[in-house]
């Protein structure tokens, strides 16, 4: 600004001064170019979005409308229509994530009807082709004591609600489906024989009841006017005493159930009818579907040896239908379940079935008869817990060149100049060979996945490893979003899981090595899964279950001879385990901190190698809530381990330097707790995790913290909800050493020798939106500007330059501030529409944003997880190290060629002219 005001001639200066006094920062905002948005033809070029619906709860084929669809309702409270041919989402409604959005019933006829919520229940009708809401009415129960056992179904255009009170009675109410008119209020059916093991197969409610030895199988049509209980001794059906009931899956056409995982019983004309078909496997999912030759019983299960199995029998004759039979050892579906089945009539009298199968790993498969999978949806990706970006290995040739120029390696291998020279020639010959091969093979195999997985020049191509809530681990190509490998670990409880890249793919003879530290689902003991992130195969420790619960884990900073970083595990008895054990002598200057979420206590341990093993010594302990009880940690944020800041300070307006305080061991804790005067307080504390020293802190009164905190370089930010003003605010802090360096440039920072406290700048801003996730961009050398990414509840991801969040923004700007480029303080942060990096691709329920550096200093890779996955790349300081996307290569080639041609032709003409002149 200062530059501008003096360079513009005095005429303009007056105008500018007027503007300054009038509304100074309008001019400034126009100068700061926020154009992070993309052009229309760039849509989908650097980014992709994958939409998911979550684990399927209810599903039904929509056969009425012309475009064949599957309507699904999920555990994530999503109602969606999937294209039958491709599995793509046709339309989707994301309901509230709390119990108010919980879908209780899905009924598909020509309209889609759902019952959602919990007292009041909302009954909604949707158009099945467009997903438009057609009608809605609500329903309030008088008593909601047992409401969680409610059963809903639709019968003859009436919505039936049944509320069982076990051991007493059943309350049945019927409503007009469209209007909600109650036909005959609520009827109470006495049923003292009911218990928790009862199942509903509309309209029958069936139980096993009675005393031991004389168990009865009882069923009741709850909708009929006359109360008629069907009762038969259980011994007629099954010999064992211990037995349970299980309803048939996949919207079976007749009421029926499975007894004791062995026998299938249908209810026909108020009579039990046992089918001659026995259940093939205890875990088999059984469904009764309509087909051309009468009802058909389908069963599917996964056998340890035979893999996925599917068999079908005719219900009336008990004969097996062989066309449908399938046994595929290669297909691994853990605990498959038939979600919906449809068998249509074809002219050739074949069984053309479509089976929607869900599995325990949350995957959804559409199969046809004989087990051919038409499409698969990995719904586990709707619940991603941890993400790691992994570099791809360099190609063999590049690896050879790298090892050639690696000093240490070279010294070992080539003692003489001649050896090095011959090696050079060899490598160049190889290069020539690959060039020729690539020219030849360009037509034949354009895309080969095995050779395609090599690092590109800018290291923009990576593999994203995603750990999902259900315990399934995915490897995903970041450029296309394609799933490269998957590994299902049923016993993994990944809450709080940590993912470490223990060896990158940079060390050619060794493969990349990634470790996931989680918990065992049942015992809570530590569970370690080590795999090759490029191929998805288990390596090293493989899947290792520890016999003790873990407190924390860390990665050793020093690599062993195989370039593998050891994994340090601190268990609840404060013992240390190290993998591999041989790396124990490398442990030095290593510290681990453990924060307890609910008590707001943080403890620090120093790890030491005592000659035999690694021991942990508790060195410090800190109570973040002070003496007051009730404080809890809402968010904690340490610096990314790979961060190396190459910009040591800020240049001020007078061209002096304000040096940054970049303590690599700094951890930000955001706590909240009750306060005697101010109701709630939010405290942000910066703790040095090595020494336990509190470096800086800030407290906000009458506020509640949101679990969002970012921390990078020398700045940190945390988000809280201000109860007083009822708005979301963001508190920011910056730490500076001052105008003098404490240490020499390039010196090693030691927390234990630091005696001075940094200068802390603090500010707060109003965030005019509701953020759900926050992250800060991350580049290789931290030279580019930092931008903070906020995922908003509106479904947008907004990129906000740190310059707006900076606490040094002056209230009354001086010329020096302007020279430095500080924006004057304004309480409200601008969130312009151009700053939305996912443009019109709305993202529902974003849970986290992950960033990773690329090989380009300007570019940072971004992945947002939640119900949807969204990947893009951002360039906070513009792509200064890359030609523009629309750079006209043809024009520049054309111009160069034309110039060359012109040069040579003029040379020719000039020589001809000289010759003529000489003859004159």
């Amino acid at each position: 600004m200062g530059v501008l005001s003096t360079s513009i001639k005095p005429n303009f200066l007056g105008l500018l001064k007027f503007l300054n006094s009038f509304n100074w920062f309008i001019v400034f905002f126009s100068l700061i170019n926020l154009s992070v948005c993309i052009y229309e033809d760039q849509i989908g070029k650097f980014d992709w979005r994958q939409t998911y619906v979550g684990r399927i709860k209810f599903s039904q084929f929509d056969t009425v409308s012309t475009a064949k669809k599957i309507i699904v309702a999920t555990e994530e409270n999503v109602l969606a229509a999937l294209n039958l041919k491709t599995g793509q989402v046709v339309w989707r409604h994301v309901l509230e994530s709390a119990s108010t959005g919980n879908i209780q019933l899905l009924h598909v006829t020509d309209k889609v009807v759902t019952v959602s919520g919990a007292n009041p229940y909302l009954v909604r009708g949707w158009d099945s082709t467009t997903g438009v809401l057609l009608w809605e009415w609500s329903l309030m129960l008088q008593k909601d004591d047992h409401a969680e056992f409610s059963e809903w179904w639709v019968q003859h255009g009436m919505l039936v609600h049944m509320l069982p009170v076990f051991g007493s009675h059943l309350e049945v109410s019927m409503y007009n489906l469209m209007t909600g008119q109650n036909r005959g209020s609520t009827s109470k059916l006495p049923a003292i024989w009911t218990n928790e093991g009862c199942v509903l197969s509309p309209p029958y409610y069936s139980c096993i009841s009675g005393s031991m030895g004389s168990l009865l199988l009882l069923s009741l049509d709850v909708t009929s006017n006359a109360v008629q209980i069907i009762s038969k001794p259980l011994s007629q059906f099954i010999s064992t005493e211990e037995s349970s009931l299980r309803p048939l899956d996949a919207n079976s056409i007749q009421p029926g159930f499975v007894i004791g995982d062995k026998k299938i019983v249908l209810i026909k004309n108020n009579e039990f009818e046992m089918l001659g078909i026995s259940v093939a496997d205890e875990s088999a999912s059984v469904a009764l579907v309509d087909s051309t030759n009468g009802p058909m019983v389908l069963q599917t299960w996964t056998d340890d040896i035979k893999g996925f199995s599917l068999i079908a029998h005719s219900a009336s004759t008990g004969k097996e239908v062989t066309e449908v039979r399938c046994s595929d050892p290669s297909l691994r579906l853990p605990e498959p379940e038939l979600a919906a089945v449809i068998c249509s009539k074809t002219p050739r009298e074949l069984h053309a079935c479509r089976l929607l199968v869900t599995a325990a790993d949350d995957s959804l498969h559409l199969m046809q008869q004989a087990g051919r999978v038409l499409w698969t949806r990995e719904e586990a990706l709707a619940n991603v817990v941890a993400v790691e970006f992994v570099d791809l290995p360099v190609s063999d040739l590049d690896a050879a060149i790298e090892s050639e120029f690696d000093q240490k390696e070279a010294a070992k291998m080539y003692s003489s100049v001649w050896a090095a020279f011959s090696r050079r020639l060899q490598t160049q010959f190889q290069q020539l060979q690959t060039l020729l091969q690539s020219l030849q093979g360009a037509e034949t195999n354009a895309r080969d996945t095995s050779t395609g997985l090599v690092r590109d020049y800018f290291n923009l191509h990576k593999i994203i490893v995603l750990v999902t809530d259900v315990g399934k681990i995915f490897g995903m190509d970041n450029l296309s979003g394609a799933i490269l490998w998957q590994h299902y670990e049923p016993s993994l409880d990944p809450s709080g899981a940590a993912v470490f890249t223990r060896r990158s793919a940079r060390h050619p003879p060794h493969d990349a090595y990634l470790t996931i530290v989680g918990k065992h689902e049942e015992t809570g003991n530590g569970l370690i899964i080590s795999l090759n992130p490029i191929r998805g195969t288990l390596v090293g420790e493989r899947s290792l279950q520890l016999d003790v619960q873990l407190l924390q884990c860390a990665l050793l900073h020093r690599a062993d001879q195989e370039k593998l970083h050891a994994l340090l595990l601190l268990d609840r008895d404060e013992n240390v385990q190290i993998f591999p054990v041989s790396a124990a002598p490398l442990v030095e200057n290593m510290f681990i901190y453990v924060a307890e979420k609910n008590t707001a206590r943080v403890q620090g341990y120093a790890l030491k190698y005592d000659g035999r093993s690694v021991v942990a010594q508790k060195t410090w302990s800190l109570s973040l809530g002070g003496s007051e009880a009730g404080h809890r940690i809402v968010a904690s944020s340490a610096k990314p381990a790979s961060e190396r800041t190459h910009s040591a300070g800020r240049v001020l307006g007078d061209r002096s330097v304000l040096y940054k305080y970049t303590n690599p061991n700094l951890v930000l804790f955001v706590t909240e707790g009750p306060d005697a005067i101010h109701k709630d307080v939010v405290v942000a504390t910066c703790v040095d995790a090595v020494s336990g020293a509190v470096i800086a802190s800030a407290a906000v009164r009458r506020a509640r913290a949101l679990p969002l905190a970012v921390h990078s370089d020398n700045f940190l930010a945390y988000v809280y909800y201000n109860d007083k003003h009822r708005r979301t605010e963001i508190g920011t802090m910056e730490l500076y050493e001052g105008k003098q360096r404490w240490l020499e440039a390039g010196a090693a920072f030691s927390s234990l020798r630091a005696s001075r406290a940094p200068a802390v700048y603090r500010a707060a801003y109003v965030l005019p939106a509701a953020p759900r996730a926050a992250a800060v961009t991350h580049t290789e050398r931290s030279l580019t500007d930092k931008h903070v990414l906020f995922a908003l509840s509106t479904g947008a991801i907004v990129e906000l330059p740190w310059a707006y969040l900076e606490p040094r923004r002056p209230v009354t700007p001086t010329p020096e501030h302007r020279e430095e480029g500080l924006i004057p303080y304004a309480p409200e942060l601008p969130l312009p529409a151009e700053a939305v990096i996912n443009y019109n691709r709305t993202l529902h329920r974003v849970s986290a944003i992950y960033t990773a550096p690329s090989g380009l200093e300007s570019t940072s890779l971004v992945l947002a997880t939640g119900l949807d996955l969204f990947y893009t790349r951002v360039a906070p300081s513009k792509t200064f190290d890359l030609l523009k996307d629309d750079f006209d290569y043809y024009l520049i080639t054309l111009v160069l060629g034309a110039l060359l041609l012109a040069t040579y032709s003029t040379k020719y003409f000039a020589s001809r002219k000289m010759l003529k002149m000489a003859w004159k």
């Binding site: 530059v3 003096t6 360079s7 709080g496 940590a498 530290v517 918990k519 809570g524 530590g526 619960q549 873990l550 407190l551 924390q552 884990c553 860390a554 990665l555 050793l556 900073h557 340090l568 601190l570 609840r572 200057n589 290593m590 510290f591 681990i592 901190y593 453990v594 924060a595 307890e596 979420k597 940690i633 904690s636 340490a638 190396r644 800041t645 190459h646 910009s647 040591a648 300070g649 240049v651 001020l652 061209r655 002096s656 330097v657 970049t662 690599p664 061991n665 951890v667 995790a689 090595v690 240490l743 440039a745 390039g746 010196a747 090693a748 920072f749 030691s750 927390s751 234990l752």
Partner: protein, 172 residues
């Protein structure tokens, strides 16, 4: 015909091709012209006057850079301290001209060898140095000289660390 012409002497004819050439070197001197005095005068003044002139001229050259100083000061004042194309061009000229002049000192003073040559060269040198200093002062006031620590910030080594940490919220 020619015989006739040559033989016949016309009354009005004038012959330009006279055979007998009269030597024209011996013309009388104009009145008041003293040959000896003239020769004497030129001999003496040529030596002293032209030398003096040359010295005077060379002093002019030698003092030229110093005389430019007030002009340069005025130009510098007019150019202002902002960084845009014209001030930069002016500052560039201010630096380049004296430097060029310094390199061509030898050729500028080639003609002269005398008692004052050393002094002249020295003054010329000083003048150019003054001009360079002025230009550098201008650069300094425009902020073009890398004299602040901030100018060398990009070349500094990044900080390394002694201790390493790991951990987070308790997994229990």
């Amino acid at each position: 015909m020619s015989q006739v012409k040559t033989n016949k002497k016309f009354k009005w004819a004038l012959d330009f091709n006279q055979k007998n050439k009269v030597s024209s070197g011996e013309l009388p001197s104009p009145p008041g012209y003293n040959q000896s005095a003239n020769a004497n005068y030129t001999e003496t003044s040529k030596d002293t006057d032209s030398n003096l002139l040359l010295i005077k001229k060379l002093w002019d050259v030698a003092l030229g850079p110093l005389k430019q100083v007030p002009m340069n000061l005025f130009i510098m004042y007019m150019a202002g301290n902002s960084i845009s194309i014209f001030p930069i061009m002016m500052v560039g000229m201010l630096i380049v001209r004296p430097v060029k002049a310094l390199f061509t000192t030898q050729s500028t003073f080639k003609i002269v060898e005398g008692t004052q040559a050393a002094g002249q060269k020295f003054v010329y040198f000083i003048g150019n140095i003054v001009n360079i200093l002025l230009a550098l002062y201008k650069c300094q006031s425009m902020g073009l000289l890398p004299t602040h620590s901030s100018d060398w910030l990009a070349f500094e080594e990044p900080q390394t660390r002694v201790e390493h940490i790991g951990g987070g919220l308790s997994l229990l």
